[in-house]
């Protein structure tokens, strides 16, 4: 049962092979038994899950079941969930029980989904390894000495370890795609504005985007069908029709034009990763696609620009965590300044503090033009690079990450090395376009991810391209040992 995809589980529920309560209980039991190894959940919501499952079974019994009714999923602990702790993996919000649901959570609830719990992540989504979590790192199911990636590492690990058939994630600089690649699952970052950000705790507002983390592209399409759509509570959410993302999955790829940016295949790219990605592209050629080289000349500027814009926005977004109204407050503050300094000093971890400092510095008087404004100019150039490249090709492909999962602790003392993890993913957030990572090979027992990038609102195309690969290959079916 645990190796089934969402689509297969939906069929099983529909056929009456098992009930949602049975399915949910099975997953809850498995989480209780196995998650000690992976630390992929911060909070497991067993009681609520079984209530939702019961309601789903009743809905099915009365003929009111939809495509998602009764399917269990997990939410990244960045999405606000009413009556349930929403921690963002921070000491700052360890005691925060949200009084409201994020729009994404509401949409899943309305669709009849069952929430198993809240998954581990880097603190406030700041990190590429899950090691900045207040609750300790989540572990990579392929090798528990290795990181699952980040920031949505808990969601990736949970799906890879079969502790949930699917989970939500968020992606600000690669936080869905990179852990998906390192854990051997499918992760889609939609176009900025496709999925509501309301109730998704902000890291960098102009870059954050929620998306699905699943075993297959077909499941990602099912998830996106629920998640996508306009939300009057989010001014940056696009008022654009939501297609049925499962409708075009089976379209043949004959004539598909794939662009390979030379900047995504640098000389120092891990040779095994390069080789697996090239093999995947050969597979696409076999499926009828043609390949040409394209260029994204400003790729090298993406990381510096990102590390101005994202921390700048974060420094402002995280100002609300001040110990006044909710969240962590220091003991016995002597005055207001002490309350602020110690609540924030004690409540935030080192990586969050580092980014707040960088952002506050970049925005400060006299530096704004040199840093923030310049970074925004670079952002426009990067966006233009993608627009130009996608004039010639349908999709862009390359590795999701420069190498497979690294060891826990390997990069924690070198923040810049950690930032370089996102070299292939970060520019896409700056451009606002969608990208998907799918498993495309293995090296030394660790999965390798292929990133597929498309134009604004080309999610249907990406899912179709990803699905056709998964029809032709078995990489997405590989399972870590012992699972």
């Amino acid at each position: 049962m645990f190796d089934k995809t969402l689509a297969e589980l939906a069929q099983g529920l529909e056929n009456g092979d098992f009930s949602s309560v049975e399915l949910t209980q099975a997953y809850l039991d498995r989480i209780a038994a196995e998650d000690g190894k992976y630390n992929s959940f911060i909070t497991v919501t067993g009681e609520q899950a079984l209530e939702q499952a019961k309601a789903a079974d009743e809905a099915r019994a009365t003929g009111n079941a939809g495509a998602f009714t009764g399917l269990p999923i997990a939410h990244k602990d960045i999405f606000c969930t009413e009556g349930v702790r929403t921690s963002c993996a921070s000491k700052m919000l360890d005691n925060f029980v949200s009084p409201y649901n994020a729009t994404v959570v509401n949409k899943f609830n309305t669709a009849g989904a069952v929430m198993l719990g809240k998954t581990n992540m880097d603190e406030f989504a700041m990190g590429s390894s899950n090691e900045s979590s207040f609750y300790g790192p989540s572990k990579n199911p392929w090798d528990t000495d290795r990181v699952p990636g980040g920031s949505s590492g808990g969601s990736a690990a949970a799906v890879a370890a079969h502790l949930a058939p699917a989970a939500t994630g968020t992606d600000t600089g690669g936080s869905i795609r990179q852990p998906a690649a390192l854990c051997g699952i499918t992760g889609l970052k939609p176009t900025y504005g496709r999925v509501s950000r309301f109730g998704m705790i902000a890291f960098a507002s102009s870059l954050d985007q929620g998306g699905p983390m699943t075993r297959t592209a077909e499941d990602a399409a099912m998830m996106l069908n629920v998640m996508a759509g306009f939300d009057p509570n989010d001014s940056t959410c696009m008022q654009k029709d939501v297609p049925d993302y499962t409708a075009d999955l089976s379209k043949p790829l004959t004539g598909l034009k794939i662009g390979l940016p030379k900047e995504f295949f640098p000389d120092d790219l891990n040779p095994a990763v390069a080789q697996q990605v090239q093999a995947a592209i050969k597979e696409y050629e076999a499926l009828g696609a043609t390949v040409k080289e394209v260029s994204l000349p400003n790729t090298a500027l993406a990381i510096p620009a990102y590390y101005i814009i994202a921390p700048s926005e974060a420094s402002s977004n995280l100002s609300r965590f001040d110990g006044v109204r909710y969240g962590y407050r220091c003991e016995n503050p002597v005055d207001l300044e002490d309350l602020y300094k110690r609540s924030r000093g004690e409540g935030f971890g080192p990586e969050v503090k580092r980014r707040i400092m960088v952002g506050a510095y970049a925005l400060s008087e006299g530096f704004y033009d040199a840093y923030y404004k310049k970074a925004q100019q670079i952002r426009r150039l990067i966006k233009q690079d993608y627009v130009n490249a996608l004039n010639d090709v349908d999709v862009i492909m390359g590795p999701t990450t420069p190498h497979p999962a690294f060891k826990l602790g390997e990069k924690t003392s070198d923040p810049v090395a950690m930032y370089m993890e996102d070299i292939f993913t970060i520019s896409l957030n700056l451009a606002g376009m969608p990208g998907i990572s799918i498993p495309c090979g293995m090296t030394e027992g660790l999965p390798v991810g292929l990133q597929i990038i498309g134009n604004y609102f080309a999610e249907e195309k990406l899912l179709n391209v990803a699905h056709q690969f998964q029809v032709a290959t078995d990489w997405h079916k590989k399972t870590p040992q012992g699972i």
Binding site: C80, R197, A202, D322, R325, E365
Partner: protein
Amino acid sequence: MEWEAVIGLEIHAQLATNSKIFSGASTAFGAEPNTQACAVDLALPGTLPVFNEEALRMAVKFGLAIDANIGRTSVFDRKNYFYPDLPKGYQTSQLFFPIVGEGHVDITLEDGTTKRVGVTRAHLEEDAGKSLHDEFPGMTGIDLNRAGTPLLEIVSEPDMRSAEEAVAYVRKIHSIVTSLGICDGNMAEGSFRCDCNVSVRLKGEEEFGTRTETKNINSFRFIEKAIKGEIERQIDLIEDGGRVVQETRLYDANKNETRSMRSKEEANDYRYFPCPDLLPIVIDEDYIDVIRDNLPELPDARKARFIEEYTLSDYDAMVLSGDHHMATYFETVAKTAKDSKLAANWVMGELSKHLNQNDTTIADSPVSADQLGGLLVRIKDNTISGNIAKKVFEAMWSEGGTADEIIEAKGLKQVTDTGAIEKTVDEVIANCTKQVEQYTSAEPEKRGKMIGFFMGQVMKATGGKANPGAVTGILKKKLDALCD
């Protein structure tokens, strides 16, 4: 040495929208603390702002009323600073691209001349909450009801040269925003607040002196006092060899003085940057045209109309048209009474006196315009005299009710029955033999003045209800008869 003051003002006008600028919570004043603060106002994690377009319409109205450039693209920025009543840790405002650009208003000075004052800009922003220091000993309470109330911050050029000019400018802006219906103008409740930037320089100098900013003064009178006091303080300081320090000062109305709040060195670096949660506001000509076509009458036009339509003096027209509520009130009274001069006298006289004495505004007057109009109708039709009318007004003010109800209940209806008046006159003449003798023995041309005494006696005897015209006639006839 002759000194000259240079004054620039920042006015914060709360926009009269029903809900907040970025959330659906109510903006009504006076609710229990934190009952009008939703998840967005509390800055709960994950919440996002949604711009209230009504605030945009109101800002554009103001821009058109002061003949300003309207920002075709305006952008919200975040002004970052920590304060307990600022829940997000930043205020959403407009720094780089405000909705209203350069404009101007004309003010009338005491000598009757007109002066043009430049408005640099006006931008939309959100109000903060309130810190309550007195209610909880040793602690500070936070009330976020006001957090997120839309504000239009109106920034003037440093064009004013005296406290009087500054007040005239504030009154003008007040008049415009209330006439447009975009602000209730209630200064006591903080709906209309003013920060005053004041510096002094020797007359003839080009360079500005160092300025201070005095914050949040909540009445016209205090604005004048605070500026006057600050000008004097700065002049005294310089003349004593001192130097003005750039700082923010607070006005203490009880002591009538300003005192230092924080110096420039302690000022925040606000780290402004465009708010990534809100899209730029883009408006087109059609949008502006529709608002322009529907603008209500503005104070200058109204003053001209009052002079024309009601044949008021320039001064009366200025006073009555300046405040939107007063202008509407006056027009209702004038129309009901069908006598604009009488209406003007009563609104500017008796009514204004009562408003001032009770420290209230015309919008909160216990006597409505219809009621006052009704009272004046009874003066006009001789039901009561002007003096009795003042008593009736007093009763209307303190007890409520219409003029007719009070006249009826208190039996104040004027006696026009000449028989009854003649009877009283006869009694007065019979009782005041000494005064009658003085009258009859006086030169005929002096008698006119002496009749006032008898008039008073008759009025006293009738409780003021006798028709003064009828009494005079009868008295004159009867007294003159005694002289022959």
